[in-house]
C-alpha cells in the first residue's frame, strides 16, 4: 500500500495545492468502515488510496481453534449481506474434502436459498447504489422486496441476517411447510417489481449521465486484477462458477449469464438486474424439480477431514467466494484461508476512479458492491 504524497510547497500566491480528503471510515456512502484517502485537484481525483482493516476480527485465526462444525456460524459474519452463500462455501468445502454424499433434496434447497440470497444481496446493492447517486425512493422499494426474502429466511433458519443456514452434510431441518407457496409467491411478484425499478432508473436521463462511461474497466484489466462476479461480467468476460464448476444443484439448472460491453457502471447495473431475473428463473426450476428424500447425510460423530489441502469456491453475489482449507487430520483445521471477492474487487477502485470527480467515487464504490465485513475478516 503506497502512501499518498502531499504537495507541501506553495510557490506562488495563485498556486493551487492539492487537497487531501479523508473519506471515511465514518462516511455515509463508503458502505461500512472503508477509509478512502483522496488527493483532489478541485474535485477531480488525482490519486487515491484505500485504508482497510477497521473491521478486522481475525476470522481465519479463530477458525484454527474451532471444530469444523463450529466454524460455520463465523462464516455468516464475513459477508453479512449474503450469509447463506458464505455458509455454503464452508460446508461444501468440508463435505467435498471428506467425500460426503449430500442428498439431492438438500442440494436443491441449498440452490433455492442461495439464489434467494443472491437476489437479496443484489437488492441491497441496488438500494444503496441508487441512494449514493441520490435516488432515495429506490432504497425503500428495494428493501420492501428484500423483506419478503428475509421473511422466508426467518421462517426457515430462525434468523434474518446472519442465518446459520447449513450443516456439514446437509441441512439442520427440512424446508418448512409453506416454503413452496412462500417462494412461489415471491417469484411471482418479483419480475413486476423489478420492472418498476427499471422505470425509475434505467431510462432516466440523470441516472444515465451519472453511470454511462463512469468507472470503465476493460475485460483484460478486469481479469488481470482478478475481479469476479458481476464486476467481471460487466466488462464482458464470460465467467461464472455456477457454470464453470457447478456445485449444489446448478448442473441441472437452465440459466443464462448476462454480459456487459463497456465495463462501465451502467453495464454493471444492468448485469446485476439481469442476474436477479436469472436467479428467479433458477429458483422456479429448482422448485419444480425439488426431489423428495432426506436432507442430511450420515456423518461421523466428529468431523475430521483427511490430511491434505483443498480449495473450493462458489459464485457468491459479489463474486467468487473461495475457501482454502488445510487439514492435519485432527478435529480442527490447521489453516483456513478465505478468498473474499470484495477485497479483490476493491483493488480496482483506484484504476476506476482516477480522473473522475468525488461524486463518481461514491458511485464507483457502490458499483463494486463491497462489504467491509468480508474485506477485513
Amino acid at each position: 500500500m503506497h502512501q499518498v504524497e502531499i504537495a507541501t510547497t506553495q510557490d506562488t500566491l495563485l498556486d493551487s495545492p492539492e487537497m487531501v480528503l479523508n473519506m471515511g471510515p465514518q462516511h455515509p456512502s463508503t458502505h461500512g468502515v472503508l477509509r478512502v484517502i483522496l488527493k483532489l485537484d478541485g474535485e477531480t481525483v488525482i490519486d487515491l488510496d484505500c485504508d482497510i482493516g477497521y473491521l478486522h476480527r481475525g476470522m481465519e485465526k479463530i477458525a484454527e481453534n474451532r471444530m469444523y462444525t463450529m466454524i460455520a456460524p463465523y462464516w455468516d459474519r464475513l459477508d453479512y449481506i449474503a450469509a447463506v452463500s458464505n455458509g455454503l462455501v464452508w460446508v461444501e468445502t468440508v463435505e467435498q474434502m471428506m467425500g460426503l454424499a449430500v442428498p439431492p433434496r438438500a442440494h436443491y434447497i441449498r440452490t433455492i436459498l442461495t439464489e434467494l440470497n443472491r437476489i437479496a444481496s443484489h437488492l441491497l446493492w441496488l438500494a444503496t447504489h441508487a441512494l449514493d447517486i441520490g435516488a432515495v425512493t429506490v432504497l425503500l422499494w428495494a428493501l420492501r422486496e428484500r423483506e419478503e426474502i428475509l421473511k422466508i429466511f426467518e421462517r426457515q433458519f430462525g434468523a434474518r441476517l446472519t442465518c446459520h443456514a447449513w450443516r456439514v452434510g446437509g441441512m439442520p431441518n427440512d424446508a418448512y411447510d409453506d416454503f413452496e407457496s412462500d417462494v412461489r409467491q415471491f417469484t411471482g411478484n418479483f419480475p413486476k417489481r423489478l420492472d418498476e425499478y427499471e422505470t425509475v432508473l434505467s431510462e432516466n436521463r440523470i441516472w444515465l449521465s451519472r453511470t454511462v462511461g463512469i468507472g470503465v474497466i476493460s475485460g483484460e484489466d478486469a481479469v488481470a486484477i482478478g475481479l469476479s462476479g458481476p464486476a467481471l461480467r460487466g466488462s464482458g468476460v464470460a465467467w461464472d462458477i455456477r457454470k464453470a464448476r457447478p456445485y449444489a444443484a446448478y448442473a441441472d439448472m437452465e440459466f443464462d449469464i448476462p454480459l456487459g460491453e463497456n465495463g462501465d457502471t451502467y453495464d454493471r447495473y444492468l448485469v446485476r438486474l439481469e442476474e436477479m431475473r436469472q436467479s428467479r428463473r433458477i429458483i422456479d426450476q429448482a422448485m419444480d424439480k425439488l426431489p423428495d428424500g432426506p436432507v442430511n447425510a450420515k456423518l461421523p460423530k466428529i468431523v475430521k477431514p483427511p490430511v491434505g489441502d483443498y480449495y473450493h469456491s462458489i459464485e457468491g453475489p459479489k463474486g467468487e467466494i473461495g475457501c482454502y482449507l488445510v487439514s492435519d487430520g485432527t478435529a480442527q483445521p490447521w489453516r483456513v484461508r478465505v478468498r473474499p471477492p470484495s477485497l479483490i474487487n476493491l483493488q480496482a477502485l483506484k484504476q476506476l476512479c482516477l480522473g473522475h470527480l468525488v461524486a463518481d467515487v461514491v458511485a464507483i464504490i457502490g458499483t463494486l458492491d463491497i462489504v467491509l465485513g468480508e474485506i477485513d475478516r
Binding site: 435516488a135 448476462p258 454480459l259 468525488v358 461524486a359 461514491v362
Partner: protein, 437 residues
C-alpha cells in the same frame, strides 16, 4: 359582515393608543410582518412533516405516526429536540463567522417575503415598485451565508459544499433573472402586485404566454434553493452534509428554516409572475360587487396558498423521484442550456410583443402600451401570443440541440448498450477471451 368585524375592531382599538399615521406606517406593517413570519415559520415546521408524509407515501411506508395522531405533533417534538441540543462549535472554527452565517441565511430568506403579494389589499406587507429586483437581490445574499458557513467550519466537506454552492447559486441566478425578463416585458412593471394586476386585468396567466420562461424559472429556482436533484452543496452521500456538516442544534435548524423559507419565496415568485398570483376568475364579480371586501381578500389569499402548495408539492415530488446531478453536469445545464434558452426567450418575447403591436397598431388598437390599461390584448393578439410561446419552446429546443449536439451528455440513450445473455457450456473452467462468445 363577520369577516370585516375583527379588523375594524382592531383598528378602533389601535386608534386609542397611536396616531393614524403611526398606525398606518408602523403598527399595521408590524402586525403584518409578525403574522407572515409566524405563518412561514409554522409552515417550515409543518413542511418537514408534509415532506416526510409525502415521501413516505411515495416509498410505500407510513412516515411519522407516533407523536400525536398521525404523527401531527412530530414537528414540535423535533423543534424541542433541536433547541435543547448542544450548540457545538468545532475547535478551530472561525467562531464569529460560524455564529453569524445561519442568521444571514434566515434573514435573506425571510426579508424577501416582505414584497410578496399574498393577496390583494392588506395581504401585502409592502408593494415596492422594484419588487422583482428586490427579490433577486436579497435572495442572492443567501449564498453568502453558505460560503461563510462552509469556510468558517474548518472542515473539508463543508468547504467543498460551500464552493459548490457558490458556483451553483451564482450561475443559476443568471438564468433565473433572465427568465423573468420575458414576463417583465408583458407586465411593464417590476412591482409584484403590478404583475398580478397585469394578469388579472387580462384574465390570463403569464404561464400561457411564457411557457419557456416558466420552465427555466422553475428549474433554476430549484437549483437556487439547493433542492434535489440539484442538492449538490449538501449532497448527503458525497459530502456528508455539505456546508452545514459541522452545525448542530439551533444553528442547524436555522439553516433548515432558511432552506424551506427560500423554497416558499421561489414558489411565491413563480406563482406571482407566472400563475396569476392571488387572481382567479370571477373574483371581482363574486366578492367585490357585493362589498365583501375581506372575504374577497381571504379567498384570494387561499387561492394564492393553493397555487403555492402545488409548486411546493412539485419540489417534494422531484426530490423523492430523481437521482442527483454531478457537479459538472449541473454547470452544463446552467450555462449550456438554461442561459441560452433564457436569452432566446427574451428575444422571442420581444418579437411577439413587437408583432402584436404592429398588427394591432395597424388596426388602431393600443396594446401593451401602459400599465393602467393592462395588456389590453385582442383575441387575435392572445392567440398570437400563445402560438409564439409554443414556437419559442420549439425554437429553443432545436437551437439547444444544435449547440449541445457534440457533448457527451446529450444523447445518452444511443450510448447505452444492452447486455448480452450467454448460455455457457457447463464445466469449462477457462475464462473465455473477451468478445469471443
Amino acid at each position: 359582515m363577520l369577516l370585516f368585524a375583527p379588523i375594524s375592531f382592531l383598528d378602533e382599538l389601535l386608534r386609542g393608543f397611536f396616531s393614524p399615521e403611526t398606525i398606518q406606517h408602523v403598527v399595521w406593517p408590524l402586525i403584518q410582518i409578525g403574522l407572515i413570519v409566524t405563518l412561514v415559520a409554522g409552515w417550515v415546521a409543518y413542511a418537514t412533516y408534509l415532506e416526510r408524509k409525502i415521501s413516505a407515501f411515495m416509498q410505500a411506508r407510513l412516515g411519522p405516526m407516533r407523536v400525536g395522531p398521525w404523527g401531527l405533533l412530530q414537528p414540535i417534538a423535533d423543534g424541542i429536540k433541536l433547541l435543547t441540543k448542544e450548540d457545538f462549535v468545532p475547535e478551530k472554527a472561525d467562531r464569529w463567522i460560524f455564529f453569524v452565517a445561519p442568521y444571514i441565511a434566515v434573514a435573506a430568506a425571510f426579508i424577501v417575503l416582505a414584497v410578496i403579494p399574498f393577496g390583494p389589499d392588506w395581504a401585502v406587507v409592502t408593494d415596492v415598485n422594484i419588487g422583482l429586483l428586490f427579490v433577486l437581490a436579497v435572495s442572492s445574499v443567501g449564498v453568502l451565508a453558505l460560503i461563510l458557513a462552509g469556510w468558517s467550519s474548518n472542515s473539508k466537506y463543508a468547504l467543498l459544499g460551500a464552493l459548490r454552492s457558490s458556483a451553483q447559486m451564482v450561475s443559476y441566478e443568471v438564468a433565473m433573472g433572465l427568465s423573468l425578463i420575458g414576463a417583465l416585458m408583458f407586465a411593464r412593471t417590476l412591482s409584484l402586485s403590478g404583475m398580478v394586476n397585469a394578469q388579472a386585468s387580462d384574465s390570463v396567466w403569464f404561464l400561457i404566454y411564457q411557457p419557456l420562461g416558466f420552465l427555466i424559472f422553475l428549474v433554476s429556482g430549484i437549483a437556487e434553493n439547493n433542492r434535489a436533484p440539484f442538492d449538490l452543496p449538501e449532497a448527503e452521500s458525497e459530502l456528508v452534509a455539505g456546508f452545514h456538516t459541522e452545525y448542530s442544534g439551533f444553528r442547524w435548524s436555522l439553516f433548515f428554516m432558511a432552506e424551506y423559507a427560500a423554497m416558499v419565496v421561489v414558489s411565491a415568485v413563480a406563482v406571482t409572475v407566472y400563475l396569476g398570483g392571488w387572481y382567479f376568475p370571477f373574483v371581482y364579480q363574486l366578492t367585490e360587487a357585493k362589498g365583501y371586501h375581506n372575504l374577497y381578500v381571504i379567498v384570494s389569499l387561499l387561492v394564492f396558498l393553493i397555487k403555492l402548495g402545488a409548486i411546493l408539492y412539485l419540489y417534494f415530488w422531484l426530490r423523492w423521484t430523481l437521482p442527483r446531478f454531478r457537479y459538472d453536469q449541473l454547470m452544463d445545464i446552467g450555462w449550456k442550456w438554461l442561459i441560452p434558452s433564457a436569452l432566446i426567450n427574451i428575444a422571442m418575447s420581444a418579437l411577439s410583443i413587437f408583432a402584436i403591436q404592429a398588427v394591432d397598431g395597424w388596426r388602431g388598437i393600443e396594446t401593451i402600451e401602459s400599465l393602467s390599461n393592462g395588456l389590453n390584448l385582442t383575441t387575435t393578439g392572445k392567440i398570437m401570443m400563445v402560438v409564439m410561446g409554443l414556437i419559442s419552446l420549439g425554437v429553443t429546443g432545436l437551437l439547444l440541440a444544435r449547440i449541445n449536439w457534440r457533448s457527451r451528455d446529450f444523447n445518452l440513450k444511443s450510448q447505452r448498450r444492452n447486455i448480452r445473455l450467454v448460455n455457457l457450456p457447463q464445466g469449462k473452467p477457462a475464462v473465455a477471451p473477451v468478445g469471443e462468445i
